[in-house]
Symmetry: C2
Subunit: 363 residues, 2 copies
Amino acid sequence: MARAYNFSAGPAALPLEVLQDAQQELVDYKGTGMSVMEMSHRGKDYDAIHQEAVATFKELCGLGDEWSVVFIQGGASMQFAMIPMNFLGAGQTADYVNSGTWGNKALKEAKKVAALRGASVNIAADCQKDIPTRQPDSFSWTKGAAYAHICTNETISGAEMKVIPEVEAPLIGDMSSDILSCERDYSKFSMFYAGAQKNLGPSGMAVVAIRSDFAEKGPDSLPTMLQYRTYTKENSLYNTPPTWGIYIFGETMKWVKRMGKENLFRLNAEKAKKIYYVIDSSDFWTGTALKEYRSNMNVTWRIKGGDETLEAKFLAEAKAAGMSSLKGHRSVGGLRASIYNAFPMNGVDALVAFMKDFEKKNG
Amino acid sequence: MARAYNFSAGPAALPLEVLQDAQQELVDYKGTGMSVMEMSHRGKDYDAIHQEAVATFKELCGLGDEWSVVFIQGGASMQFAMIPMNFLGAGQTADYVNSGTWGNKALKEAKKVAALRGASVNIAADCQKDIPTRQPDSFSWTKGAAYAHICTNETISGAEMKVIPEVEAPLIGDMSSDILSCERDYSKFSMFYAGAQKNLGPSGMAVVAIRSDFAEKGPDSLPTMLQYRTYTKENSLYNTPPTWGIYIFGETMKWVKRMGKENLFRLNAEKAKKIYYVIDSSDFWTGTALKEYRSNMNVTWRIKGGDETLEAKFLAEAKAAGMSSLKGHRSVGGLRASIYNAFPMNGVDALVAFMKDFEKKNG
């Protein structure tokens, strides 16, 4: 079987070992005579999968008993709505950092909720439209804000927050594209979350880590499924959770543990460095993000400062060479290589060799 | 491999063929070099899966161009919230039929939304607490109601609505546990939906069929992810959909088509009839639901009118004989056999033989 080099921004490459194990167990999970997809979410076989997935993730992030880890359907986009619905009360202000497409999407949903409730949203920093793309370097936080929201890695612009800002208000982080990809002090947050389909597993849920007392702050007049306490109090089992997704997530977390997270973090930095090294080696390429904010997960760049004909040629030839989904998002253009935890080093080596060859032929 | 007879109410048994095909394709989907779980939801390989799933379901339900079929994460429980949020405006009244646990859950969420909005909920019929369990036989509908909501099959009580009531208001049906299990005129509805994990596929989404003009009635001040138009206008691709679940759903719909839906409907009736025949054959057993409302999907019954010791013995011995998840829900007690489309006839035959033997030994 020829395995594709899949540079997709999400859903994205999963660890081959995880896929192979899931394949083996798909019809008959460990002699139960049924697939994980067929198991009652109230039964003991599924319960063991669920508990282990939560425990492994908590261990990897260094989270203590004060934290709940819950699975909420709807991806990060549903979190954009749930966060202000739960935490932005009438007369309150929430701080949002507009660092790019995703920071802005979160901000927009908060504004919708604020408009209905008579609450306010303060933009603590705004660099969404800056090219080269970046993360902000200064912030104007609101005294007594209900919470502050940041997006630690902008998947589209390829700009990553290298230092988590110090904020007085409860800090909420969208880490959809860089969770568990680098050393990070998660204790700075009151809540952090990630759509699963980049670094954690298949699409179909957000993994949400939230301090249990913070989860209680939401009004209980909200619909049941939109309150965080519904998930924290019932261990994500108020209704049927996305059992298959949680299973693959758990297997992926066990893979991270087997690999060793420090080892994986080091490999992530090395993978990114190899591509940035080629980008910086000649004027043929230009990085889309400012150097100090370059993402290790989503490498974004242009050819000859934005030669679309040459970029299209690059994409077509890369695709023919087995490298897919290298097209940058239309809002920043150019090229993007998403290289999450599960993306293999040999795929990066193949891209780097291809880039050098392409430059030689077209430079 | 010994395949379990899995009588779980959901997640539930899937067609073995679907599981085997999914297993074969799990690591490498049709030579793409990647798993369906790894594919970009914007790429052409996934797009074909998505389009075919929608088209096959529409064909099976006989839905024309005026209908949208969308995938919304959060299961039926999220629909309980989204329906009133979208369709129950200030000063309006919605009619709800409280036919059991699930009808009541939908009703409760509508009341929450109504309380915040200054709207009303009318209980058009109430038989939630009746034992034997049943569906209502008369209704008091509100003139000019915003919509009317019914649950066509109560999974827990085992009572199914055999005739869809005639209602003037737009009719919304929760069909989580009996969608595509019997002949039904779906054109009577403005919207119907089902949590996927019973008759359609794995957990993690609701399949929602909605008339496109009805979807537009929701206020656009709602969070983006909570408006139906977000899904109908972007073919469920506003954000990353639960791609694996949609793939398995599509494969299951193709299986229904291969089996022939009329054939499947006939088999469903036959499977249920075999179990009810044993229940009615002696006083040892009592059906939980009134005969005229007996569900063909969830067969519920008691031993000796509710002998819990004997029921526990039945469950333990059934489990040892390879029949799992036969325990009734605590709210009605006793036993339950959930026998959705994918549950095989030989599993029903095994249960029937086991019941006869158990009665002989314990009667």
